[in-house]
């Protein structure tokens, strides 16, 4: 029998009863192995010390404090316990997920620049800035979005532009 087997069958065995055959093997091993005897004795010592750990005294008012808190727990607190609702709400979650998956494809199919609702002027303005067809009609601030614009050109445009003129060609509903 090896030392590993001996310690596994004794100190690490959690108090399980050894078969008579194993008991004889372990006893024979321990009779001649000081290291295993020391290991087992060390385990016993630590276990005994932990068992003798002085317990922490509980304050006399502990139970009362718990019961006061129990009384303070409102009746509806159990209703909002998310664990109770996790599975009950799963069909709703599934429906929302399905809707979220289907909605973008519907929008993509039905929404185009031409079909855009009139209540989305801001999106139209920004898109027209980013993809201009005639650079001379751009508002000054739209140059910020353009590639290959020099700092000087941007500065001149901003300094000479009239705010009213910049937005004159757009429709903000005003």
């Amino acid at each position: 029998m090896t030392c590993d087997e001996a310690t596994r069958l004794t100190a690490a065995a959690g108090g399980r009863e050894l078969s008579p055959a194993n008991r004889r093997l372990v006893d024979a091993h321990l009779a001649e192995c000081g290291a295993c005897r020391a290991e087992i004795a060390g385990q016993e010592e630590v276990a005994a010390l932990l068992r003798s750990r002085p317990p922490l005294d509980v304050s006399p008012a502990f139970t009362r404090r718990v019961l006061d808190r129990v009384a303070a727990v409102p009746a509806w607190a159990d209703v909002i316990d998310f664990r109770k609702w996790t599975w009950r709400l799963s069909p709703v979650a599934a429906a929302l997920l399905l809707a979220a998956l289907l909605l973008p494809s519907n929008r993509a199919a039905t929404t185009s620049v031409e079909a855009r609702p009139s209540n989305e002027p801001a999106i139209g303005i920004m898109e027209s800035w980013v993809t201009p067809t005639n650079a001379s009609t751009l508002p000054a601030t739209a140059l910020l979005w353009q590639p290959n614009v020099s700092n000087d050109a941007l500065l001149v445009t901003v300094l000479t532009a009239s705010p009213d003129a910049e937005l004159g060609g757009t429709s903000l509903g005003r």
Binding site: T10, Q43, E44, L49, R51, R53, V58, V66, V70, D78
Partner: protein
Amino acid sequence: VDADLPLVRAASAGDTEAFGELVRRYQAQVVNLARALAMRADAEDLAQETFIRAYRGIGRFRGESSFKTWLYRVALNVIRSHAAERSRWAPLRGSTLDVRPGESPAMAAPGAGIEERLLRRDAIDRALAALPLDLRSAVVLRDVQGLEYKEIAALLAVPIGTVESRIFRARQLLKPRLAGLLGRTSEARSEGGGRDDVR
């Protein structure tokens, strides 16, 4: 038959006095479990949290395990979640331990015997706190709380062989950390003529 079952049934029907009796039965074990596992000066706060959660969830107790085992499971969840929360903030605080020698309120109690007991407990708790939580849980449940191996296996949701190896390894790691106390324990045991089996 679980002796706590009548009280559990009454408590789940809203009888707070019955729940109070359950608290009285287990408060010492839960407070000491919280203290030994979490090394918190406010172990009673963790224990209170355990009982509050137990009260709110007692309607879901099905009696598949004993109430004690179920309550310990609640306590372990509370302690683990607090430990996880603390470990997130530990780098900012520089330590995961609350208790410093002499800080425990009870340390001020008069009498050399009491003081020695408190120092002894503090030394044991500090040695335990240095262990990884999985080893610490197993050895505390076995050697401090006195639970059976199969109970510990059920609580920690691991095979009993894992429990055995964790306890074995924990004791190995604790031995050098508790060397100063172990000598005194051995002397006391030899004077008393007792022998403790490792189980």
